[in-house]
Amino acid sequence: MAYPHEHPRETRVLSKYFGDKDAIGIDGWIERGGYKALDKAFGMSRDEIIEVVKDSGLRGRGGAGFPAGLKWSFMPKNGDRPNYLACNADESEPGTFKDREIMRWTPHQLIEGIIICSYAINAEHAYIYIRGEFVDVVRVLNGAVVEAYERGYLGKNIRGSGYDLDLTVHLGAGAYIAGEETGLLNSLEGRRAEPRVKPPFPAQRGAFGMPTTVNNVETLAAVPGIVENGADWYRQWGTEKSPGTKLFSCCGHLRRPGNYEVPLDFNLKELVFEICGGPPEGREMLAVIPGGSSVPIMTVDELDCDVSYEGIEAAGSLLGSGGLIAMDDSTCMVHAVRKMVDFYAHESCGQCTNCREGSSWLAKILRRIERGQGREEDIPLLLDISANMAGKTICPLSDSAAVPVVSSIEKFMDEYMAHIRDGSCTAVR
């Protein structure tokens, strides 16, 4: 399908060829300058590659924002155990759909990034852990992997460099928690995707007990550009702490939903109202979640900030995955929050008491309020359950489940009170 929307105010670096069918195959990709970065990388030392990625300031694009080069530098350099790279293509954060586009329009961009990273961290095998629901993306990706092997970009002695790398596309089977890096590693090992206690960290004991780096698709896709053009090139965009560009997956009540790439100092309000066109005709924007359902809900007057990690944090939310969800005044906030909490309750792996019991408890209370059977004491109860779920578990899914509850009670109390007082709803139909 043709790519839905382009906007002149975008800065299309990663997404330059979205919508360009000829960019998908390896020939078209090479024509467009693909795999040049890889050749350059083979002329550099491993440490040099790690340095340039570090200097670029590239931060993990899956949601945590951890500096990528720093993460790579944790890998043992002269170990006696094999190193691994796991590419996190499990994109499951509600509101996020950028990695699927990177993989189905420019799979070789990702593969090139994977090879460069694997070379830099001296991995002998790279896995792309891709969610099993991405059926169409898997088809395209498999095709690209076959092409890469056949042209000597994967396998033995890649491009005459002496470096061997095997790549396996590994399908997930429907578990959001497999997107958490240690949950992913457990799933790769043929286990339940239950997150692990850290320490030890993946760079010490990762896949199969071996040193492993886990990076998001968008992070790895940014690597060829950085290696080819240098750290300063990457830093021409964004801020000091948040350099580069990012794909924002914009969905919900927008005139023009879709993926948009902007530098990380772009204004969030302009992203929503100008690039995405704001809410549909005749509606008013009610709330925006900038980075996937795990980050706090923002009111419209909070949106005037940079989309950088520090900018959104200062405005009271988080950049997260950049999965932007827009809600206009036809939204019942109680319903929306209930749907989000339902998601976490369903996806909780169940290990930690607080998350397993708390998430489903929150969901049940919200359903009751939504049905018009809420009580005034449910509000402090929801807040206390949320407090009991935050900061007490192995992984942050528990915290994430509580986030929409806390931020919606804080900012949209009137919606809750309407349901509780007389079962009515403030949504404009």
Binding site: E91, E93, G132, G190, F343, E347
Partner: protein
Amino acid sequence: MSDAMHPAIVSAQPSQRAETNPDAPLFEGEYHDRFEKILSRYPNKRAALLPALNLAQELRGWLSPETMARIAELLDLTPAYVRSVASFYTMFATRPVGKYLIQVCAGIGCDLCGAEDVVERLLELTETRLGEASADGKYTVMEVECLGGCGFATMVQVNDQVYEDIKAEDVEGLLKGLD
């Protein structure tokens, strides 16, 4: 499917194909070769479990206790362990499903854009209740968590076919196009 035959490719079609055989042997012929290939891509047998279950479900349509026990045998795992892993993941069907497994995204992005209406229309036209197979065994309608296509709401997946931008009025045409 040439990609499926490449030594590096351990998955060709994801599971839930329309033509399945609950008694298909695990594994013979082409599927035996694909199973061996799966084993070659991982450093131990346990790690081959997810792709192996996927392969078995592709063949048999769902993962019966007998199927899980057989996979356990092939990978030197206990049947209880295989059951534990299979039951953890939503895409592994531990109950028989209809010929067409229709999955509608229940994520917040699609919910804001009418997903509930799409589900309602699907249940109405297939004459099923959520998660149950229709009387003729043709359809099962399920709500699944965010399918990662939020900008193309509502996302619907039928077996290995993806449908984007589905509204309630598109449902009838979608169902007709399945056969």
